[in-house]
Symmetry: C2
Subunit: 546 residues, 2 copies
C-alpha cells in the first residue's frame, strides 16, 4: 500500500524558490574578481538564475547537457549554478588548480558544452581551448567593461547575455533523480573520475547539513564559505544557506588571511568553513595584528585533518567553536561533523580537544562502519582501525560512464579508501588512507599519525611517511622530512622527539631530509610520487635483517 | 541523464538504525502508565522494536497490514511504532478522546487488524470491541503483573509477546513511498478522513524538523513531547529525536502542571512541545509554587494559537524562548515555526512579541501562499488575508480510500481551510478558519480576532464568534460569551471594551451569554454546532435594516 502524500520532487530549484519566497531580503555579499564589494539578495539571485537559464537556452543548451564552470565563490557563480541546474542541465565544476592535461581529459570526458569562467582563468582556459573540440563557447563571468582581451573564439560576456533576458522562465520539469551536478575526484591514481550528483542527492544532503547538530545554518547566520564551489560542492553551502535563509559572504579570489579577516569582520560573519591552510593564514593574521572576531561563533574545518594546535587556538584565544568535518567528493561531500554530545561541554579543555581532533559523528542519512581486509565488521571501541565504509542517498553509487566499474560491495557499501576508528559514542577518527597504511608484520601502522607526531618537532617544517619494502616485516615506515632552514636538524633529534609519543614498533626505521614534498592539486601529499621516488631505497634495518 | 548516487530509500527504520549506531547510549525516560519512571536507551528501543515486529509476524501480520495504537507517550508506544512500521505495516494512531461511534467508524474504515493500547483505555476499547468485526486481537501495553481484567477476546500482553522474541530480525524491504503511518483528521464536518503517511514523507519531515531554524533538535538536547503520539505524529518528535540523538522524556498519562513540571525539572529537559492548554497548567504551577526551570531553553507551542500573555510569561518570567508553530494532520504536521530572522533579537520586547504571536515561517520543503476566493495570489504585505495554500513532500495528496475526492487544485496546492496573512519577511499569521470567517458586505471579518479581543475583558471566560445571516450585509458577527460567574457582565461592557481595539465595522452586532461553548475532541470550538444552535437568531441590526 502506497502512502498518499504529495508527489513533490526534491529539486535544487525548490531551494532557491524557498529563499526567494521566505528570505527575499537576505544578502549575498561578494568580493568581486574585479575588486569592489557587490551586494545582492536571494530575490536577485533567483531572478538572475532564471535569466541565465534563458540565456543558455538561447545558446542552444537543453536538458541533460553538461555545462562547466571554473570560478571563485561569487554571486555570479551561484547564479550560474542555479541557472544551469534550473534549466535541467548538469553543472560541472572545474578545479582551476588541475594541470592542463587533466583539464583537457575532464572537459572532454564530461562532454562539456560551454564553460563559464572568471577573468582570472583566461590563461588557464586559453591554454587548453584547442584541445576541446566539443566546447561550443565560453562565457566570461564579468561585465562588458571588464571583458578581457582573449584569443578564444565564441566568447560571451555573462552580464550581457544574462541582462538581455527578462527572467520569465519556468524551471525545467526534472525528475528528482536527474543529474544536476558533476565533480571529478582529484584522482591520485589513474584518471580523474566523475561523481554525478542528482537533484535528490543535493537536496537531501542540504537538509542533513542544515541539521542543528551538523552545520546547522539558521536564518540569522551569516556564512562565509572559503571552501570553493569548484571543490566538493562548497560543502553544500550554496544549497544549505538559501534553504535556511542565511546571508552568504562570497570571498571571490582572495583567500589570504587579511582578506578573509576583513570580510569576516566587516560583514559580521557567524559561521565559516575552509581547509586548515586557510585557517593557518587567518590565525597568523589575527595574532600579528592583535585583532579578534567577536561575531564569529563557529569555524568548520575539513578537507584534511585540523591540527590540535589550530583547534586550541580558535577555541582558547578567539572563543570560536571549532567543528571538525570529514567527507569526500563522492559523499556530496559531508559525512561527519564534530558537534558535542551530552556531557562533553563540561569536560576539561584538554579532554574536549581529544574529542575535537576526531573527525566527528556521521550525520543522519550517512551510514558508516569499519571493516578488516576480509570485510568483517570491526568494533566501535576507538582502538580498532579498519576500512571506512559508507552508504547513503548522497553517496556515489558509481562514476560517470562506468569508470572504475562497480564501486559498491554486495551490500551497497562504498569504500572511502580511508582507514579509521569509531569510538563507542560514534565519533570517527581518520587514521590513514588505506593505501598509505604501512603493513608491518600483519599489523597496520598509521602514516598520518607518524607525520602528525613528527611535525610537532619545532625544526620540522613538513613530514611524510611511506612504507618501504622490508624482507622480514613486509613493510616498515620511512620518515621524509623538510627541516627548518638552518636548524641543523638531525635524524637522532627527530626520533628522540618521537620516542614515547607512539608505540615502540611504530618508530620509523629511517629518516631522510628533503627540500620539497610533492602535493596534489588539492594540497594533499602525493605519496604515490614519494613511493616512486624511494622505490629503490633500502632501509638500514633491512640489511641488518638479512 | 540520471545522477549516479546510491539508491538509498528514505525509511523510518533508517532513523532508529542511526540512533542505535551513533546514539546507542542516549536515554528514553518514561513516566509509565503503571506509575514508576522507566529508563531505557535507543539501543533498547532498537532491539525491542525488532522483537515487536517479530511478535506481529507470529500473529500473522504482514507487510501492508494496518495496526492501530491507542496509547500515551511511552517507550513501549515508540517501540510499537518502529515495530509496526519496521515490518512494513502501517501504524494507525487512535485518539482516545474520540466518541465511540467515531472510533468504530475509523477502525473499520482503516481495516485495523490489531490494536495496541494502554491499560488506561481498556474501557474505551471494550465499549467498541463488538463493533469491530475485522480486529483480530488486542495487545495491552503492559507486563504480566499489570494485565487488567477484561471481557475482550484475543488479548495479548505486550511484554510477554515481545520478550518471547530474540530480536534477530531484518527490517522489511519497503519502498520509500510505501505507507507507514495513518492518522484521521478530527473532522468537524462529515466523517473523519485518513491521512496516509509514507516512509519518505516521515523521513523528509523529520529532516526538515531538525533544521536549526525549525525544532532544531541536537544530541545534547533533552526533549519532552507533551504533544501526544496519537495526535499528528507528536509533531515528528519520535522521528526527529532519534535522528539527532536527543534524549526523550515521555510523560505517559499525566499532563497536569505538577507532573509536567516534575519531569521537566528532574530530567533537565531543554526543549518541550505542547498545545496552549498544557502550558496554561504549567505556568499556573510555576507561579503558584514560585519555581523556575533553569535547563529549559525552548518551548514549542502549536495546535492552536498561543496567547500573547503566555508567550510573554515564558519569555519574561522564565527566560524560555517560545517558538510558535503551526501545522495540521495533513502536513505531517509541521508547516511553520517562529524562529527569528536577523535583527529581530535586538528589537524591543513588545515588538518581538508582535512577531512571536504570528505562527512563523514555512520550513524548507513546505511551499505556502495565500489566495482570494477566485484562486488569485494575494500579496505578502502582512495585511491581505486569504486562503492558506500549501504544497510539499509531507503534505497530503489525498485521503484514504479517496474520501473527499481530489483535494488538490490543478497546480497541486492543498487548501488548509485556514485564512491567513503573510508578511514581507515570510511570517504567516492565521486569521481564521475559512468556514468561520464572517463575510460582511464582500469583506472578511476574522472571528478569531474578535474572540481574542473579547477574552481580554476580565469578566469573559470564553468567547466564540459566528456569522449570522443579515439582509443587508450577508453576514454580521454574533459574539457568544461565557461570563465570569457572579460578575454581572453586560453586553454594553463587552462592546465598550472592544471598541477601539478593532475596526469599527468589525464590531459584533450582538452579544449573547451562555453557560457552555461546545468543543471538539481536540479542544477546538465547535462552530458548526454553534451555527446550528443560533441558525434562527435574528440580529437587532437585521430588523433595523429591513
Amino acid at each position: 500500500m502506497k502512502g498518499l502524500m504529495q508527489d513533490w520532487p526534491l529539486t535544487v530549484m525548490s531551494i532557491i524558490d524557498h529563499a526567494n519566497r521566505f528570505h527575499a531580503e537576505r544578502e549575498i555579499v561578494t568580493r568581486t574578481v574585479e575588486g569592489p564589494i557587490h551586494r545582492c539578495t536571494y530575490s536577485d539571485i533567483h531572478l538572475r538564475a532564471r535569466k541565465c537559464a534563458q540565456a543558455l537556452q538561447k545558446l542552444g543548451m537543453k536538458q541533460g547537457d553538461v555545462i562547466a564552470t571554473m570560478a571563485w565563490n561569487t554571486h555570479r557563480h551561484m547564479e550560474a549554478w542555479y541557472g544551469i541546474m534550473g534549466m535541467g542541465a548538469v553543472c560541472h565544476t572545474l578545479n582551476p588548480r588541475l594541470f592542463a592535461e587533466q583539464l583537457t581529459y575532464i572537459i572532454n570526458h564530461a562532454e562539456d558544452q560551454f564553460i563559464f569562467f572568471d577573468t582570472t582563468f583566461v590563461p588557464v582556459i586559453e591554454a587548453v581551448a584547442d584541445t576541446l573540440p566539443n566546447v561550443k563557447g565560453f562565457i566570461i563571468l564579468t561585465d562588458k567593461e571588464h571583458m578581457p582581451e582573449t584569443k578564444l573564439k565564441n566568447v560571451y560576456c555573462y552580464e550581457e547575455i544574462v541582462e538581455a533576458e527578462d527572467g520569465n522562465f519556468e524551471w525545467a520539469d526534472v525528475d528528482e533523480n536527474d543529474a544536476c551536478g558533476l565533480c571529478y575526484t582529484s584522482g591520485t591514481t589513474g584518471n580523474p573520475k566523475g561523481v554525478l550528483y542528482s537533484h535528490r542527492s543535493n537536496v537531501l544532503h542540504a537538509l542533513a547539513a542544515n541539521g542543528a547538530d551538523a552545520m546547522g545554518m539558521r536564518s540569522v547566520d551569516t556564512v562565509l564559505p572559503v571552501v570553493p564551489m569548484f571543490h566538493a560542492n562548497a560543502w553544500a553551502i550554496a544549497f544549505s544557506a538559501p534553504a535556511s535563509g542565511a546571508k552568504i559572504v562570497m570571498p571571490g579570489a582572495n583567500m589570504d588571511g587579511e582578506s578573509i579577516y576583513e570580510l569576516l569582520s566587516t560583514e559580521r560573519v557567524t559561521v565559516t568553513a575552509a581547509v586548515p591552510t586557510v585557517w593557518l593564514m587567518l590565525l597568523g593574521h589575527l595574532e600579528a595584528n592583535e585583532v579578534k572576531l567577536p561575531d564569529l561563533t563557529k569555524v568548520i574545518i575539513g578537507g584534511s585533518a585540523a591540527p590540535r594546535s589550530m583547534i586550541e587556538a580558535f577555541e582558547r584565544d578567539y572563543d570560536v567553536t571549532v567543528m571538525h568535518a570529514w567527507g569526500m567528493t563522492e559523499m556530496s561531500p559531508m559525512g561527519t561533523l564534530g558537534s558535542f554530545k551530552a556531557g562533553m561541554e563540561t569536560l576539561p579543555f584538554e579532554e574536549q580537544l581529544d574529542i575535537k581532533v576526531k573527525q566527528g559523528r556521521a550525520i543522519y542519512t550517512v551510514e558508516m562502519k569499519i571493516t578488516d581486509d576480509d570485510g568483517n565488521d570491526l568494533p566501535s571501541d576507538g582502538v580498532a582501525f579498519g576500512h571506512l565504509m559508507v552508504r547513503g542517498p548522497a553517496v556515489a553509487g558509481g562514476y560517470l560512464k562506468g569508470e572504475g566499474g562497480n564501486i559498491l560491495d554486495e551490500d551497497g557499501w562504498f569504500d572511502t579508501g580511508d582507514v579509521a576508528t569509531l569510538d563507542p559514542l560514534g565519533f570517527m577518527q581518520i587514521t590513514d588512507r588505506a593505501k598509505d597504511v604501512i603493513k608491518s608484520g600483519g599489523e597496520w601502522i598509521s602514516s598520518i599519525e607518524l607525520e602528525n607526531t613528527a611535525v610537532g618537532h619545532p625544526d620540522v617544517v613538513e613530514a611524510a611517511v611511506i612504507g618501504i619494502l622490508h624482507p622480514k616485516w613486509d613493510e616498515r615506515p620511512l620518515l621524509i622530512v623538510i627541516p627548518k632552514e638552518g636548524s641543523g636538524l638531525t635524524k637522532e633529534s627527530v626520533l628522540e622527539y618521537m620516542d614515547g609519543k607512539i608505540a615502540k614498533w611504530w618508530m620509523p626505521d629511517d629518516v631522510v631530509f628533503v627540500d620539497e614534498i610533492p602535493h596534489t592539486a588539492t594540497g594533499k601529499i602525493q605519496k604515490l610520487t614519494l613511493r616512486e621516488q624511494f622505490k629503490d631505497y633500502t632501509l638500514p634495518t633491512a640489511t641488518a635483517a638479512e
